[in-house]
């Protein structure tokens, strides 16, 4: 069982933006979802865990490693797929993956070859392994990214917004792969798409404005607000009134008309209907606080 313990982590950027504000999390083997809107501080948190940035305060432990001190040790058991990355356009997939295998310490020639081959097959890039990376589509690039992250059988896999640019089929395969790895390792997945977490993660945290606003098992979290969410289709001009009267957690459109969701311990009446509660509602509940 692997364990990642994040305590009192804070990071402020030069422009006085508090990217992380006293983050505390305990994460164990399995898939952990980090949910939050863009700019919530997810990527900063992940880069810090991935040894690529230093926090102002706080501490991170991975099993018995001090992540902020023993960076090299951490990198040995780390797989990292950042939100955005590029590849050498004129190098073939095989050559670059082989290069990363070397970087990660797979210096045994035969083993490295086997591993690279297997990963290329696993990520369905084997057919195109001799092609230049410059010609890869977004999905293929993303798959290459996951292939390199898995080269060293990581105990901690960090994937930052991985599904952007993937088509649904690719996305499913990708999730399958992640959950397979989640059996052995900590997989830390950040996303702003609620569905991703719902489908995959046994545990999750919601981050907003640098704080952990909610943490737990998605199912339990859903259970907690079950029956408290109501919805109603309204007129556009009414929105401000509703906002002042009710705890509006979400505004969206349904068949061209505004649809609002509110949180209420008791049935508010007034035409509101009880709404299905999913992770999305949990998320909105937290963000609207």
């Amino acid at each position: 069982m692997n364990k990642l313990l994040i305590s009192n982590l804070s990071k402020t950027y030069n422009n006085e933006v508090k990217a992380l504000n006293n983050i505390n999390l305990e994460i164990t083997t399995g898939m952990f979802g980090l949910l939050g809107p863009n700019g919530a501080g997810k990527s900063t948190l992940m880069r810090i865990i991935a040894t690529l940035q230093d926090p102002d305060e706080g501490n991170i432990q991975l099993n018995n490693l001090e992540v902020l001190e023993q960076k090299r040790q951490v990198r040995k058991v780390l797989g990292y797929l950042p939100q955005q990355f590029g590849l050498f356009p004129k190098i073939s997939a095989y050559d670059l993956l082989d290069h990363f295998a070397i970087l990660k310490g797979l210096t045994h020639k035969k083993q490295r070859k086997e591993k690279v081959h297997a990963l290329l097959q696993k990520t369905n890039l084997y057919e195109v392994r001799q092609q230049r990376l410059g010609g890869f589509s977004g999905g293929m690039k993303q798959r290459f990214g996951i292939a390199q992250a898995l080269l060293n059988n990581p105990k901690l896999l960090i994937v930052d917004e991985p599904t952007a640019g993937l088509d649904p089929k690719e996305k499913n395969q990708f999730y399958y792969l992640l959950s397979e790895i989640g059996e052995q390792a900590i997989v830390l997945l950040s996303t702003h798409i609620v569905d991703d977490v719902k489908e995959l993660c046994t545990r999750m945290a919601i981050i907003n404005q640098g704080r952990v606003v909610l943490e737990g098992d998605p199912l339990v979290l859903i259970e907690q607000i079950k029956g408290q969410v109501y919805q109603k289709t309204i007129h556009k001009r009414e929105i401000t009134d509703y906002r002042s009267t009710y705890n509006v957690i979400n505004e969206q459109h349904y068949l061209g008309k505004p649809l609002i969701q509110i949180l209420s311990k008791s049935d508010p009446g007034a035409g509101f209907q009880s709404s299905n509660v999913g992770l999305e509602e949990v998320y909105f509940t937290q963000l609207s606080k």
Binding site: L52, Q53, D95, I102, L106, T107, Q111, G135
Partner: protein
């Protein structure tokens, strides 16, 4: 609308630090511009701030920094793509013309303002302390403005247009970088055009154009006339401005909003692989991860190969290689040319040529690809993936560096291969692989490696490719400036010295060890730099320098600390060793210390310049040479005779001022007391207790040793070498004051309050008239010289070989003069082969036979027959027309090509490896220069050896011009008139070139001092005309009479006077025939 874009462009640039940096950079360079551009070029009488000099410096500076132009002009349209704002711009209602025009004009204005640094910097440069008034015109603003407008501005416009268009159309940074280089290649290619006019038109930087423009100008005009927009300069400028407009037009029509949106490869269809479910079943094999040192070595090796391969995939790299190949092909035709004749394509010539041509490209590759490799991951956005792996920063950085070095190696191997192909196709089969190896891997590679360390360090410091490249370039230029300023200390002489030219006789000789130690020292320094670079290069996203520096201390692992300390200690130890070898075992003189010493010498001892001294009438020497140690032991005995009218009380001895040489003992056959007042100058005065009466003699015994110690930074070549020793008798103790130690340059002399000193005395200088060379110690002497040397070497000196034996596994040779010789002889020793022949007079009764010998390096057999033919033809002509040859031997002896000349001593002529031995003479097209040089040197056996001339102005007219004439007559008898015409044309050419570079106004031939272009080239032309005018026979009769009257031994006039003949004496013989001829013609006399 265009004006808005124009304003935006200017405002944008105004906020960028690069703009100011470029300006400062150009400004700083331009301050030293004249020194840099005209480094090693003789300006002669043209002043350092003459308009044409300013024009050339500006042209060259603009050319060198075309790269800046490309960075400034290539960027504006790429910027949109980089910042990914192109789509916004291109969908705005901006017209194509507005966009391009605004951008172009805005950038061009900025470019223009930046390049204003060039004239400004040059103006400030006038204030530099080493700009002497004598070299400068009074400051004139307009002298800078006109060339800036006529030379620089058109180049800038052309470059701006070209780079703007290529940047706009290609949208690739690397294209922007390389186009500056491509333009430089164009410039180099124009140099290969033989048609001068065409060359001047096509030169993009107008250097040859300016030369052509001012071709007919006199010195005064060169110092005053402006480079106006006219003539060839105008044609050149209109041509390139026209090309600029064409480029702009082309760019305008090709540019198009929609196509440019597809940047790079994205225009092509992306491959994609449909997902399949099969992959779900694949199990990942386990693999061991290793992080021990062996694994790190594997990482280092594999990654190095990866980065080399990476560079090999770069199109820009191949573009540079292509340019290099083009230049080498165009240039490689001229190899080791001496007097217009090529040498055999021997390996060292090929290597030297390849080195010279490729070095520029190596530096370009170093500059760009160190920046490219250092920041490549960041540039493509791969750095986070890379930085999250456990690979050590040092391994990454070293492998990137090694990857780049791998490129150097590949290029060097390719050059070796092409060099070999060149040799084989030229029909030369003596491929010398070790010379290729050392030429590239010993001479160039260490220099590149050390500078690559620096480049990577600078990149890691600034973490910005552009700035990194610029700073590295600045560093290179700074190092060149420091070298020019003369940094004497070996420990601060960055990247170490250079090797002398490779000699087939002596290899790199004793120069190699100090060279390699210095390189080792700097490579250690480089490794330390690289380790430092890996610490501060930073990882992840916090790339601010402050953060990286503070993180560096925590990055440092204990192992790194230990390794770094070990290397530091080794570095210091090697430094100490070097310092000990060069500065403790040897005394290093700074240029200034040496000047002060010379000035002091003159001030202290010049009082004795003409102090009466006895003359050497006999020398008995026993010299033991130890070539392996480059040392000798000399035991000598001089017989000194008072040839003055009055008694001599003091004998003044000057030991050669050279730390490695010790005068162990010196004594006279009469009691003396020694006066050590001038010991500082190794000048000793021996007071004779009983004066030496006129006509009396005494013996002087001395022992002298040469023991070179440590690394001698001066690298004296004129001494004992492993193979090819060549020393002259002035190495032994001399009598009285030595003018050769005086400061020569009047500017230096002025600083130390010394009066100007002409290199030759006036024609009526009564002291100098009595001496055949400065401070001559003899009017003729008998010699007996025994030389011991290595068992595999032969020693040669003037005189007849009377005995030869072996003892103690050493070879001994005893040479003796058969009659008095001049006090000017040399000693040579080497592993020689001997080529022998004999010259027989036409009628045996006329002359005794002469044994002809050539001592040559075993492989240098190409021109032995030509030399032999030259010796024979010369002896025949000179004995017939001038006087008998006084010896029974005539020898040519080869010496290493560290120096290239041939010099005549009594019956022995040392001949440099490079001057006649290696020439590849094609008799259908070339002049047989080996033959000519041989004839010239043999002629000195008459002019200089049988007849000496007073050491006054015109001396070289008597000695050198007559040797030229004599050789020309032998040549004329031996070759067709066509060849003679070719030789005359060659000398006309050299005369013109020499005159253009001369520092002083041309003096008449009979007043010549040390101007080669006058006494060699003009002299030859003068004599050629003279013999045409009054007839060869008459010239020869005049010379015969001159010899008869003035020869050293029994000249009829010479024996009646104590002075030597001058050019006036010589002219008087010619005058007789001129007068006769005119009278015979019945035409009027002109005098």
């Amino acid at each position: 609308m265009w004006y808005e874009l124009f304003k935006f462009e200017v405002t944008y640039r105004r906020t960028k630090p690069e703009t100011y940096l470029f300006f400062l950079f150009l400004f700083a360079f331009s301050v030293f511009g004249v020194d840099f551009v005209f480094q090693g070029v003789e300006l002669g009488l043209v002043k350092k701030n003459a308009p044409i000099v300013i024009g050339k410096v500006m042209g060259a500076t603009t050319g060198i920094f075309m790269i800046l132009t490309s960075m400034i002009m290539g960027m504006p349209m790429i910027r949109d793509d980089q910042h990914q704002i192109a789509p916004f711009f291109y969908t705005c209602p901006v017209g194509k013309l507005d966009l391009l025009l605004g951008r172009f004009l805005g950038s061009f204005l900025v470019l223009f303002l930046i390049f204003c640094a060039v004239p400004l910097g040059m103006m400030v440069g006038e204030l530099l302390p080493w700009r002497f008034d004598s070299e400068m015109l009074p400051f004139r603003f307009v002298n800078y403005i006109i060339p800036f407008l006529t030379v620089v501005l058109p180049i800038l416009f052309f470059g701006a247009a070209l780079f703007f268009v290529t940047g706009t159309l290609s949208k690739k940074l690397m294209v922007v970088y390389t186009q500056g280089i491509v333009l430089f290649v164009v410039f180099m290619l124009t140099k290969a055009i033989t048609d001068e006019y065409l060359q001047a038109v096509l030169d993009p930087f107008s250097l040859t154009t300016i030369t052509q423009f001012s071709k007919e100008w006199t010195v005064a005009e060169k110092n005053s006339l402006q480079l106006t927009f006219s003539g060839i300069l105008m044609v050149n400028k209109i041509f390139w401005i026209g090309i600029g407009f064409l480029a702009l037009g082309f760019g305008y029509f090709r540019f198009n909003f929609s196509t440019t949106l597809k940047s790079g490869k994205s225009g092509k269809s992306k491959t994609s692989v449909a997902p399949t479910d099969k992959i779900l079943d694949i199990n990942l094999p386990s693999a061991t991860l290793r992080y021990d040192w062996r694994s790190q070595v594997i990482q280092y090796v594999r990654m190095s190969i990866f980065y080399t391969k990476y560079l090999l995939r770069e199109t820009s790299f191949w573009a540079i290689v292509f340019c290099a190949v083009l230049i080498i092909i165009v240039n490689s035709i001229n190899l080791g040319t001496v007097h217009g004749v090529d040498s055999y394509p021997t390996t060292y010539f090929i290597v030297a040529e390849l080195q010279e041509l490729s070095l520029y490209f190596f530096i370009i590759i170093l500059l760009f690809y160190s920046g490219e490799l250092y920041g490549k991951e960041q540039e493509v956005g791969l750095h986070l993936l890379h930085d999250a792996t456990p690979v050590s920063g040092l391994v990454t950085l070293s492998s990137k560096m090694t990857g780049l070095i791998g490129i150097y190696l590949l290029l060097m191997m390719a050059m070796t291969l092409s060099g070999i192909v060149f040799q084989l196709t030229a029909g030369y089969y003596h491929v010398d692989l070790p010379v290729y190896f050392s030429g590239f891997f010993l001479e160039i590679l260490p220099f590149l490696v050390i500078n690559t360390f620096v480049a990577f360090f600078i990149q890691s410091l600034v973490n910005n490719k552009f700035l990194g490249i610029l700073f590295t370039l600045t560093f290179f230029i700074l190092m060149i400036v420091l070298k020019v300023l003369g940094i004497a200390n070996v420990l601060f002489d960055f990247s170490g010295g250079v090797l002398p030219p490779y000699s087939e006789m002596n290899g790199y000789g004793h120069f190699l060890a100090p060279y390699l130690w210095a390189k080792f020292y700097w490579i250690l320094f480089g490794i330390l730099l690289l380790m430092l670079a890996s610490l501060i290069s930073g990882r992840g996203v916090d790339v601010h320098l402050k953060h990286r520096l503070s993180a560096a201390s925590s990055n440092i692992s204990q192992k790194t600390q230990i390794v770094a300390s070990c290397i530091s200690v080794l570095f210091l130890l090697v430094g100490c060793y070097l310092f000990y070898q060069t500065n403790v075992l040897n005394k290093v003189w700074t240029a200034k210390e040496a000047r002060i010493y010379r000035a002091n010498y003159e001030k202290a001892v010049k009082q004795f310049e003409y102090f009466p001294q006895p003359k050497i009438v006999a020398a008995n020497l026993h010299l033991e040479l130890y070539p392996d140690h480059r040392s000798y032991d000399l035991v000598g005995e001089y017989t000194l005779k008072n040839e003055e009218q009055s008694p001599i009380r003091q004998i003044h001895i000057q030991k050669l001022i050279e730390a490695d040489i010790t005068l162990d003992s010196l004594s006279f056959s009469r009691p003396t007391t020694i006066d050590n007042r001038f010991q500082e100058f190794e000048y000793f005065i021996y007071e004779l207790s009983v004066p030496l009466k006129s006509g009396d003699s005494l013996l002087m015994h001395f022992k002298q040793t040469l023991r070179p110690k440590g690394f001698n930074a001066d690298g004296i070549v004129n001494s004992v070498l492993y193979n090819g020793t060549f020393l002259r008798n002035n190495e032994f103790p001399t009598l009285g004051y030595n003018k050769k130690y005086e400061l020569k340059e009047d500017s230096d002399r002025k600083i130390y309050a010394l009066p100007p000193s002409p290199s030759k005395a006036a024609l009526d200088d009564s002291h100098a008239l009595r001496l055949p060379r400065s401070g001559s110690d003899s009017h003729g002497l008998r010699t007996n010289i025994t030389i011991g040397t290595n068992s595999d070497q032969t020693a040669v000196t003037s005189g007849k070989l009377i005995k030869k034996w072996e003892n103690n596994n050493r070879n001994y040779f005893e040479y003796a003069s058969t009659e008095p010789i001049i006090n000017f002889y040399s000693i040579l020793s080497g592993r020689y082969e001997l080529f022998q022949d004999q010259w027989l007079p036409q009628k045996p009764s006329d002359h005794s036979p002469v044994d002809l010998e050539i001592y040559y390096h075993p492989r240098h057999t190409y021109n032995l027959e030509r030399m032999m033919a030259g010796m024979k033809a010369s002896l025949t002509y000179y004995t017939t027309n001038f006087s008998p040859y006084p010896y029974q031997q005539l020898r040519i002896v080869e010496f290493p090509r560290y120096q290239d000349f041939a010099q005549s001593f009594p019956n022995t002529i040392p001949f440099s490896e490079s001057i006649g031995f290696m020439l590849d003479i094609d008799d259908s097209t070339d002049i047989d220069m080996t033959f000519f040089v041989t004839a010239h040197e043999v002629a000195h056996q008459w002019w200089g050896i049988q007849l000496e001339s007073a050491n006054v102005k015109g001396q070289n007219f008597v000695l050198e011009t007559l040797a030229q004439y004599s050789a020309l007559m032998v040549f004329k008898n031996h070759f067709s008139q066509k060849k003679v015409d070719q030789l005359i044309a060659h000398n006309q050419d050299l005369y013109k070139k020499g005159k253009a570079k001369a520092k002083q106004e041309e003096v008449p031939l009979h007043m010549v001092e040390n101007e080669e272009y006058i006494y060699y080239n003009k002299g030859l032309l003068y004599m050629y005309n003279l013999q045409k005018e009054i007839g060869e026979a008459n010239v020869n009769s005049a010379l015969k009479a001159f010899l008869k009257d003035w020869n050293n031994r029994n000249g009829q006039l010479k024996s009646k006077t104590d002075r030597y003949p001058t050019s006036e004496d010589l002219n008087s013989y010619f005058e007789r025939y001129k007068t006769n001829m005119i009278r015979a013609d019945g035409t009027q006399m002109h005098r």
